[in-house]
Each structure stands twice: as C-alpha cells, then as structure tokens.
Subunit: 482 residues, 2 copies
Amino acid sequence: MTVTPVPVSSVPAWDDEADVVIAGYGIAGAAAAVEAARTGAEVLVLERTGSWGGAAAMAGGFIYLGGGTPIQKACGFGDSVENMAAFLNAAMGPGADEKRIADYCEHSVAHFDWLVECGVVFKPEFFAEPGWEPMGDQGLMYSGGENSYPFNTIATPAPRGHVPQMQDKKQGEASAGFMLMKPLVETATAAGARARYDVRVQALVVDDGRVVGIRARQYGAEVHIRARRGVVLAMGSFAYNEAMVAQYAPRIAGRPAASVEQHDGQAIRMAQALGADLAHMDATEVAIFVDPQQLVRGILVNERGQRYVAEDTYPGRVGQLTLYHQNNTAYLIIDGDAQEEAMAAPSPGLMMRPATWVADSIADLESEIGLPPGSLQSTVAAFNDAAARGEDPLLHKKAQWIKPIGTPVGAIDLRESTGGFTLGGLMTTLDGEVLHVSGEPIPGLFAAGRCTAGLAAWGYASGVSLGDGSFYGRRAGRSAAR
Amino acid sequence: MTVTPVPVSSVPAWDDEADVVIAGYGIAGAAAAVEAARTGAEVLVLERTGSWGGAAAMAGGFIYLGGGTPIQKACGFGDSVENMAAFLNAAMGPGADEKRIADYCEHSVAHFDWLVECGVVFKPEFFAEPGWEPMGDQGLMYSGGENSYPFNTIATPAPRGHVPQMQDKKQGEASAGFMLMKPLVETATAAGARARYDVRVQALVVDDGRVVGIRARQYGAEVHIRARRGVVLAMGSFAYNEAMVAQYAPRIAGRPAASVEQHDGQAIRMAQALGADLAHMDATEVAIFVDPQQLVRGILVNERGQRYVAEDTYPGRVGQLTLYHQNNTAYLIIDGDAQEEAMAAPSPGLMMRPATWVADSIADLESEIGLPPGSLQSTVAAFNDAAARGEDPLLHKKAQWIKPIGTPVGAIDLRESTGGFTLGGLMTTLDGEVLHVSGEPIPGLFAAGRCTAGLAAWGYASGVSLGDGSFYGRRAGRSAAR
C-alpha cells in the first residue's frame, strides 16, 4: 500500500470527519485525545487493532518524571528541574536534544499533576531492589542509572521512574502500563473523544500542501477521514518494519522487544512522503535478558574478557553498551554464593538465568567459555584484588555490591541476549508540529510518541517513551485543535 | 533558502537546459557526465565552486577495486569476486547492503578497465608499509584491514586500494585524487559535457511528480535549469551541515574531516522534500590522527587501560572503534625504541606524534595518564607475557609487530583525535534511481556518490567512496540519459 500523499481532489467522499483526527490509540494518542477534546474540538481516534492500548498498555508503565514530584518528595528524594536536566543531557546523549529536555524537565511536575488529575494513581513508595520494574505496586524506582557511575558524579541521584499503581499485581500478569492507559482513555472518552477501531491508516490527504485527512482501510474497504483542523500521528516506532530497521538501525535488526507488531513505521513513512524531517533514526532502547539481581552480583565481561560497565547501573544501559560497543557479546561471571543469593533475592525473577558453564577455577572457566588465554584470569585477579579493599577503581560499582569472586564459579552466556525498540522518528517542534526538511512545520500535521524523535538520542532510561509520548501527545493534541 | 520542490508552473523561464543536468562536479558527477554524454545526450554539469574537483580532487585518491584487477595480478595478489564480497560484507557491516556489494564486486574489474580507458593511470607496484596512503606513486595498498584480524580469518587477504599514479609526488603536496578527476573531466568534456560553475543548487523543479529541472542561484540571481531527461544529484555528503549531523550522526559532530565545506547535505534535503528515502544516516568514515607507523609499534588502550583493536589493522577501523565504542578516548602506549623506529620508518609521516607523557615504569605512566590504578599495568603485563612468545592471543596483531613493551615508555594522548565524513544518504536502486519512501523510483531523479547510501553501512575501507561514487555515478548518468 503506497504512502504517497493523496490529493484531496481524488477523494471520492469523506466517510467520517472530525476537527482533530488522531492515528493510534496508545499513550501519545490518548494524551492527544484528552487535550484536544478538552478544548471543545471534535476528536476522532483511529486505531489499527480492535482496542485502545498500543505498546503502552503492555509495558511496565514507567513514566520518567522528576524535578520534585509529590511521589519523589513523599519518598524522601530531593530533585530539581536543573538536576533532572543535567542527568538527562548526559544519559540521553551523545546528541541529546537539550532544548526538548529543558522543556520536558521544566513542566515535569505539572505533567505528573495532570496524569493524577486524569485518574492515574501512583503509590508513594520506593522500590529499592535491583530490577527492571517494581516487584509490587510501589510507585517509584531508579530507572536510568541515576545512582550509578558515571551519572552519580554528574547529577545528584534521584529516582524518576514513576509507576502507576496496580493492586494485587501478580508476577508475569497484566501490567502497570494498563493502569496508565485505562484512566487516560476514560478521560478522553468522557471529554467527548470518539474512537474507530480496526482502521489501518495508509496515507495523508493533502490540499495545496496542507494535511486535511487520512486514507485508511477498514474491513477491506478504503475509507477517507477528514480532519477539519489537524491530524495527529501517534502510531509508534518502526521496530517491526524490517526494511526501515535495516536502513536506519541495522544493529537492532532481528531483535525487536518491548514493542508491538503494529509498530511498522507507517506514520514515519507517510510523513516522509510529504518531506518531513527525521532525527536519531539509529537510536534504540536495548534490554539485556538477564536478571538485575544477578547482574549486580557478578562481573560482566566482553569477548576479550574485559569489564566495560558498572554492573549495578540501569540494565538498559548495560544492554546498549553490550549491543553497540561489545559486538552483542557478554558473559556474566558469577560465583556459586552470588548466584544463590540472586536466586533468593526479592525480585520478579522472570529473567533469572542459570549458569551456562561452571568451573572450579577461573582458568578453567576462561577456557570453557573460549575467552583469550589469560584474559579472564587477569580481569578477575584485578577485580578481586581491589574488591578485597572494598573498591572498584575500574568501573565504580557501588560498595554494597563489591565482593571478591570465589569458586565454584559460573558464567552466564549473554551473547545475542539483547532486544529493544527504535527511538528515532519525525522531527517535531516542542508544540508537536511535524517539521518539513525546509525547517517549517507541515500545515495540519502533528505527531508524538515513538514515531517521533523524542528525549533520547543515543541513551535511554525506562519511562522516557511513556514520558515524552504522553507529554508531547498533549501538546500535539492542543496544537491540532487550534 | 528553501528546498521545497518548485512546481514547473512557477518557473518564469528556463535559463539553460540539457537532456541530463548533473548537480556537482566531483567524482560521481564526473563519472555520470562521461557516461551520459557518451550515450549522445546533451549534458550540463552545475558546480557550486569555481572549478571541477569536489572532495575527490583533494583526496588520497583510493578507489576500492578487486576481484582480480590487472594491478592486483601484476603485484602477485590473487583475488576473486566472491572473496572481495566476503570481505566487504563483513567489513562494511553490520547492516551492509549485500546486493549492492555483490553488484559492485561483480563489475569491479570492468570498472577498473573503464577508469584506465578514461585515462586514469595506475602503476603496478605494491606499497607494503603501514600508512594512510602510499609514500610514492605506487598503485596498490591494503586499505581496509584485509590482511589483519578479524578480516584475515574471514576472506583471503588481498589489497584493493587502487591509487592513480602521480609522478614526482611530494609529501603534503597535491593529491592522487586530482589524478583521478583530471582525466575523467577531460573525458567528459571530450564527450561533449558542458559545465556551469558558481551555481548553487537549491531545489528541484517538478511537473506532476516528475523532476524536470533545478532552481539555483548564480551570481546572486535565481536561475532555472531544465533537464529534459533527468537530474543527477552528485553533491557529496552532509558532513558540513551541523543540523543534519546533530539529527543523524551526532557522534561525529564538530569533527568533519577529509571533506569539503560544500558537503552541506543540500542534495539529500532537496530529495527528502520530494519524499525520497534514506539509509545508514549514522554511518561515518572516521580517521584517527596518529601515524600508522606508530600505531603498529605500540598498544592502544581505552579509558579503562584495556586494548580493544589490533593496532596493525586499517587505521580508519581504529578510528571508528575509538570514536564509537571507546568514548573517543584512546592512548597509544609506545616505548622509546619503538617510537624511534617509527620516526625512522619510510612513511609520509604527516601524522607522526610525539609522546604526551614519558615515564620510567608502566605504573608511573598509568598514574600520569590518570588511568584506573592497576589497569594499564595489568594490560601491559599480559601483552608482554604473550609477546615474549611472539603471540597476541587477545587481538591477533601480526607477528612482525609483536614486541614486548620496554622502558622508558611513553603514551600518545589520542582523546578527541578523530574526524571524518558522513556515509549515509539517499536510497537508490542499483541503476542510480532515487527511491521514494513508497518504494518506487522518483521519476526523473537520480543520484550517486556521498549524497547516497553506498557500499558502507557501519564499517569502511579507504577507496569505498571514490569507488561507489564513480561506479554508481556511471550508472546514474546512463539511467538519466535514457
């Protein structure tokens, strides 16, 4: 199906219409719908699947917020707009969009308030264990390595991963993201937003350079939906578009994760066809498939047997550094005691991994893994030597996790054990207008969420996608309704 | 100046016209001009500066060719199409375009013959020293790490860096790239191609979706040039467009090198404005500013004092790995004897660097550099231990360069010592047609050279840019003339 823009003159008839037409009912679409509808505009959301939710409803539900939110305060953490920005400028780069980060941080507390006012509930309780997400219904957690090296030397550590409360959460069941989406969709509906499901958006309809509608397919037939004021694209990433991944982010090819198949890049293509500009197309979130309770208790080495990242930082950073800098090859060296401790630790434990190899000496383990002779021995000797003094001069792991590696010792094979989703997309103004390569906004076209380039360039923190998706979704909705 | 496409109806009058209009008179433009003119088409080349040449005329002149060229044979090197492709698929990836590589390798010998027939002279002599380019007028050199680890385990090593002969070449003077451009431009001129200089191309003129001309400025006035059959964009990379670099390749920001200021990304913008697709926008060539005669004689360590690349591989690979994987931070550890040897070695020597720090022991050097305590000592101990046996189990440096590090010992500070140019750009067919995001060619629009995504995705080898620029420049010229 072609993404080539459709001239309005070739539209046979409008099948539906609204002031603001939003494509995609995930986090960005829902936030846009609430704000557009609240201005009094007539709002129609087109969703490809049979229901609202998108990737957000299946996600862990982190929203990256700070600068002194009520939850941060209740949990005893100090933070400021400047401190939050200092962290994000370092952690989202190289290449981070400093203006967008400044804007986001400045209005972060107000965005928290808006979410609460929409009915999202955050429990003022801090989850302190290593992990990908809270084990229970705690509302706050470190989610970007704020309290780990090197970021703890750049900004004052403050947790900013805010998680909607899900009572009686069971391991592996449902998700906090659902508890974010449900109140937002209910709020949008109460404000008058209408939704049309099973609609597959295909191309933009244009009238003399202005976007005035959408061509889509529904139940096998072509439909044309008129947007009297504006179209908001909120259709997610391109993680599931193999051709685009090969062109723009080949290193994540074959390993989409924390994403949904609807993330086919169509929104990006449709806007590109109109001359829209792009940014950070190679940027991706990268998870590493091992439990953080294990990570913090071991030492992670690359294919040369060398350590390369503080094992107690944000596991998504471990994932990025492993995939991009270490040839997607890593081994977690963990001794028997540490492995037992990890297994017994309070954590969701879904990514807990058994040792791939076990040996009675580092030399034997090195040889079993197939690492260069002497490499792992030299690494462990240096680590143990400093660890005996409670230090980690190489990578500054926190003291609580420093312990010499003993025997028997195992290694967890983490080759090709990463996956993630794309972060790049359409260039937008801070008001959610889609920018043409000429530098001017494309009239009538707005976008938010993972089909746009957001806060992250090279780095990432959990909560950034639901964060910028909801934040700039609101902006896009308001702009489109104008 | 806007890149928004100009409807033909708004063109007041054509100021000039030809069958094929080529924008840019560097390597891709010259190759396109020769081939288009030889079909009998009327050809006009628009060049922004006052003369032909582009980045090519200032370059070292490498053209990456193989599969058994007469020069390879004369120098005693076996090669095949399959062997060349095996190397390129490994060295240009992850994400290398295998179809393009297969195409390029298959016709590589014929492309060599074509260059010779156009008057380019290659001297059948091999240059065997470590270096960025031959010291004299030798015509063949390793230019991509073909004979180094890991590529020497993937394909049979064969040098493929073909360099046009420049007699009486003096260090730092002129360039072999000039000796490539001169005969090509003479050939194009003899075939009837006309050139118009000081023309700054700005936007494409379109008629119902077809590209029919170019809007440009010349001596302060707007001019419109009609292209009866096709426009070929050959305007170089976006290395000097700060905004585009920030959006697409932020890690190379602030360090353009081996590039010219005319590489402003305008061709990419103009085509994007028509919905053209892009690829590999984050890919860059990266040079590291140190003499390879020094590199091979030292050990290169990162900010953790760890080795990470065989020091005797292609220095451009060392540059990429340093910039992208090692936080643009490296130190070359080289002892007094090795430094003396390097200084006395036959090499252009323009990048020879004095030691930044000198010490009587590795421990002292480690502390002077500010490396983590014990890190460099552990690395050198392991290296020396294996070097005493003539081995490098960690990185497989070639035996001829393995020698234990003695004292006094120095370190060359290679922090922030990289630079390069962008490799990404427009998606094109193997016939040089520019692809729309819909997957279809944009009628009347062709492109080649560094404004297109070529052979390289993540990796690089010297000669790939003049190689794919000339090769696909020819294709684009022929296609446009049809």
